[in-house]
């Protein structure tokens, strides 16, 4: 009996630790997800990359001399930024949770517009 009680206490402690760890892990997780999202946003919205290409579009334009001039002159005028397509977020979309969130929000918007 006494042994069992001891084990009970031990298990309880372990569980408590695990719960604390869980919280920590989940916050880490969401932080990482956010970090990926942010970095991705920065990467995809980078202006020169759109001319030269990026990992999504490929680097076909890289060796074109015209694009080189554009790249260099790009620093002066960089307006008309295109909005990012959420489907381009391959890094974020590799997470199931994010994909779900995106789908949900899209769905909500659709219903909203329907109303």
């Amino acid at each position: 009996m006494d042994e069992q009680k001891k084990e009970y206490e031990k298990l309880k402690k372990e569980l408590r630790d695990a719960l604390a760890q869980k919280k920590q892990l989940e916050s880490n997780w969401s932080a990482l997800e956010q970090a990926v999202y942010d970095q991705e946003t920065e990467y995809l919205s980078r202006k020169p990359s759109s001319k030269m290409g990026n990992i999504l579009m490929g680097f076909q334009g890289f060796n074109k001399s015209s694009s080189a001039q554009q790249i260099l002159s790009d620093h002066s005028h960089s307006s008309n930024a295109q909005p990012l397509d959420d489907n381009d977020r391959i890094f974020s979309l590799s997470s199931y949770l994010f994909a779900k969130q995106l789908a949900d929000s899209n769905h909500q918007e659709q219903t909203k517009s329907n109303e």
Binding site: N28, L32, E33, D86, S94
Partner: protein
């Protein structure tokens, strides 16, 4: 090379050089030439000419033997059936294939993806030869006793490759003097550092992702089978076998004269071209150097830099994703552990019969994992909200700063007020003394702010205050969203922010000063100058008039005919100086026995000499001088409870009750409304002038006529004035009408027009004499005459004169 004379015009004679290949004619060929067969020559000619025709094959390749033959036959339209380009025989199968290629290929559902380079797949850059095989066998035999696991061939190759690369690092010019090769002890640290094997690469990767070191995992480059195999790390390998292999390797190295043991393909070094060396495998392609400009150089380097940035960033992203997945794995494992622990705990709990315990440990409500990534849209929304908040703050700051700026201006008003307050002592017979409710003063503060706000919004007034500038800035600031890559690293100072902080510090300084002052004054005084709306004057009202209805404004005051002063029951006695019931108070407000005072004295709050007063005055003043000789009036705090005083005239209980009951009542029955109306009484000045008479009586007194006459006279004056204006306006209007009509009609109507003018004149005359308008105007003036009393005075005196 005998070139026929005919050809000389067609063929340019080139200088004979070493590089030029010369055709060697053999004896039987020369015979042909000697015959000078015209046909043969022409054929040859033809052949040469035809060769000039584009064949569609690269010039260098035209000379390939088989192709050359085919081309020639093509052009000469010869039979070409037995001419072909030989290809290697691929018809046979290789019996030993299964022996060497053992992997199982599974066809993937999608395309086969492969982006690894050859070096990533071919394993160690060292291949064993038969010498190594012999050595390894012997080594394993000798080691069998002390080590359970023999050294595999792969591991041997790994170690050898490491030896090779390490020595290349440390002694690049070993081939000069092979005997000077480093000892094992010297070489070991370098070897440990560059771990080229899969395990080393993986270890590095695991470190970057944050995987625990000993956990096996697969990359896309690994095949499925290698998961189970536990590879020995370089450290263990070197520690176990390094020394034994070293001697063997050293000998081989020396025997190779310090060059690589494993033969390397020969390629051209930087500049020493050796065309004659047939063993050079890859030769440099000779290209005409493109003309380079500085700009192209810059462009190219820039492009390369951008590309490397791109790749770097992508790598970081991929790593971040890997880390995320790794965390997700941890979460899952953690979840599993928690579940198991809960199951065990529950079972144990039942066994032990524990019923009360921390329930949250067992909380089984399953929470769905939700991703909380803030997307751009949400971020923008948040940003927008923040901006709005900022804007509001700035506006508020502008407003408050404005009011603080206004403060010094208001210093002037108390001066006037001081005068009035000191002379207000003739409100002597006061029975009720009322201090404005606190709420009232707060209300006033708000009202101070509203004009300030209007000020801020109106186009910059004469004094362009900082607050106004700030306000303008806030409204004209345009928020442009920059891409994050364009935002410079330095923290930019916002002008609005700077001004805001400056303003804040100034205000804090002033507030500190005020607080200090307040502390010094203690409970004795409070600053009347900066809070001039705090009412300190006494007032009294007749019994049948409720305080909330009492008219205190000079405007409203005229509605009530004041027959006598309510301030004291027997005013005439007081004025005459034979009143018997004068109460006298000493400085502390205690009643003193009165023998000498028969007349109510004027109260001078600054008169410190007198110790007794005929009136209990709840307020004492102090005058002090501030900076720039500004006068400040402080009010001494009274001991009496404000609420007590207030409740004498206002029935708070009833207000409360009414509000609680929420009865529907008329405006004049509502007690709360009455209370709020009584707040407004303080907004207006007293209805008594300096010497105690009613303001509404004053012009009458000046003109030495009765008040009623004065009212009528003033009314008429206003009426005649209004009439004059009306007449002017009418005439002007008619004139305009006439002018327009004039334009429309020609000279024929001139007579008519004149008549019309006469008519209009008579019409206005008749209007002026209409009694109705006159009376109307009189009625109106009744209520406003007090307001306009000062101009009235002068006008009337003119009139009387």
């Amino acid at each position: 090379m005998p070139a026929p004379a005919v050809d000389s015009s067609r063929f340019r004679h080139r200088k004979i050089s070493v590089k030029q290949r010369l055709r060697i004619y053999k004896s039987h060929e020369i015979k042909d030439l000697e015959q000078e067969d015209a046909a043969a020559i022409s054929a040859q000619h033809q052949q040469r000419e035809l060769m000039e025709i584009e064949t569609g094959v690269e010039k260098n390749e035209e000379k390939e033997e088989h192709l050359y033959k085919i081309l020639q036959s093509n052009q000469l339209r010869e039979n070409k059936k037995d001419l072909f380009i030989p290809t290697p025989d691929a018809s046979k199968t290789w019996d030993e294939f299964d022996k060497f290629y053992t992997g199982e290929f599974k066809c993937p559902a999608s395309y086969i993806q492969f982006s690894a380079q050859l070096e990533d797949c071919c394993g160690t850059l060292y291949n064993m030869d038969e010498n190594d095989e012999v050595f390894l066998k012997e080594l394993n035999k000798s080691l069998q006793s002390d080590i359970s696991e023999p050294l595999t061939e792969d591991e041997f190759e790994l170690i050898m490759a490491n030896f090779e690369s390490s020595i290349k690092d440390r002694q690049p010019f070993l081939s000069m003097d092979p005997e000077s090769i480093l000892s094992f002890a010297d070489l070991k640290p370098t070897m440990l550092k560059n771990d080229l094997g899969d395990s080393g690469v993986k270890k590095e990767l695991a470190k970057e992702i944050g995987m625990p070191e000993q956990e096996p995992f697969l990359t896309m480059f690994d095949n499925q089978r290698s998961l189970g195999k536990r590879e020995k790390s370089m450290v263990t390998l070197v520690n176990l076998f390094g020394e034994k292999i070293y001697d063997y390797w050293k000998n081989r190295k020396i025997s190779c004269n310090g060059s690589d043991i494993f033969p390397q393909l020969k390629s051209e070094r930087n500049n020493d071209k050796d065309d004659n060396d047939p063993y050079v495998c890859f030769r440099r392609r000779e290209l005409r150097q493109p003309r380079k400009t500085r700009r192209i150089d810059v462009q190219n380097s820039q492009k390369l830099r951008l590309l490397s940035q791109q790749l770097e960033y992508t790598k970081e992203l991929a790593l971040a994703v890997a880390k995320r997945e790794r965390t997700a794995l941890d979460v899952l494992e953690n979840e599993k552990f928690i579940f198991q622990a809960r199951v065990q705990l529950k079972a144990l709990k039942r066994k032990l019969g524990i019923s009360t315990d921390n329930e949250d440990l067992y909380a089984t409500k399953k929470q769905k994992l939700v991703s909380g990534v803030r997307t751009i849209k949400q971020q923008q929304q948040i940003l927008l909200q923040k901006q709005q908040q900022l804007l509001q703050q700035q506006q508020q700051a502008a407003v408050t700063s404005d009011s603080s700026v206004k403060r010094p201006k208001s210093v002037k008003t108390p001066k006037v007020q001081k005068d009035t307050s000191s002379s207000h002592g003739d409100d002597k017979g006061a029975e009720l003394k009322k201090k404005g409710p606190k709420a009232g003063s707060q209300r006033h503060k708000e009202q101070v702010q509203t004009p300030a706000q209007e000020n801020a919004q109106s186009p910059p007034a004469a004094s362009g205050t900082a607050g106004q500038q700030q306000q303008k800035q806030a409204s004209s600031q345009v928020y442009v969203k920059l891409p994050s890559s364009k935002i410079p690293d330095i923290v930019l100072e916002d002008v609005g922010k700077l001004l805001h902080s400056k303003e804040k510090s100034t205000r804090k300084f002033v507030e500190d000063k005020m607080r200090k002052r307040k502390q010094e004054d203690g409970d004795l005084f409070f600053n009347l100058t900066d809070d001039p709306y705090n009412p300190v004057f006494t007032l009294s009202i007749p019994d049948h008039v409720r305080p909330e209805d009492a008219p205190f404004s000079s405007v409203a005051g005229s509605k009530f005919e004041v027959k006598r002063s309510y301030y004291s029951p027997n005013l005439q006695n007081y004025v005459a100086g034979n009143a018997k019931d004068i109460k006298v108070f000493n400085v502390d407000g205690e009643i003193v026995e009165n023998n000498e005072y028969k007349k109510v004295e004027f109260y001078n709050p600054f008169d410190a000499e007198t110790h007794t007063h005929s009136q209990e005055f709840p307020i004492a003043f102090r005058r002090r001088r501030g900076r720039f000789n500004t006068q400040y009036i402080d009010q001494r705090r009274s001991d009496r409870n404000i609420n007590d005083m207030l409740s004498q005239s206002i029935n708070f209980e009833e207000i409360k009750k009414q509000e609680l009951d929420n009865q529907v009542i008329g405006v004049y029955d509502s007690k709360l409304d009455g209370l709020s109306r009584s707040y407004y009484n303080w907004k207006y000045d007293s209805n008594y002038n300096l010497y105690g008479s009613n303001f509404s009586d004053e012009p009458a007194k000046l003109n030495q006529i009765s008040n009623d006459t004065q009212v009528v006279r003033f009314g008429t004056m206003l009426g005649s004035k209004a009439y004059e204006q009306l007449r002017d306006a009418t005439i002007k209007y008619r004139q305009e009408q006439i002018n327009t009509r004039k334009k429309l009609n020609s000279l024929q109507h001139q007579q008519l027009l004149q008549k019309g003018q006469q008519q209009s004149n008579t019409a206005s005359n008749s209007q002026s004499s209409s009694p109705a308008t006159h009376q109307d105007i009189q009625k109106h003036t009744g209520s406003i005459r007090n307001e306009s009393s000062p101009p009235k005075k002068s006008i009337i005196s003119n009139a009387t004169a």
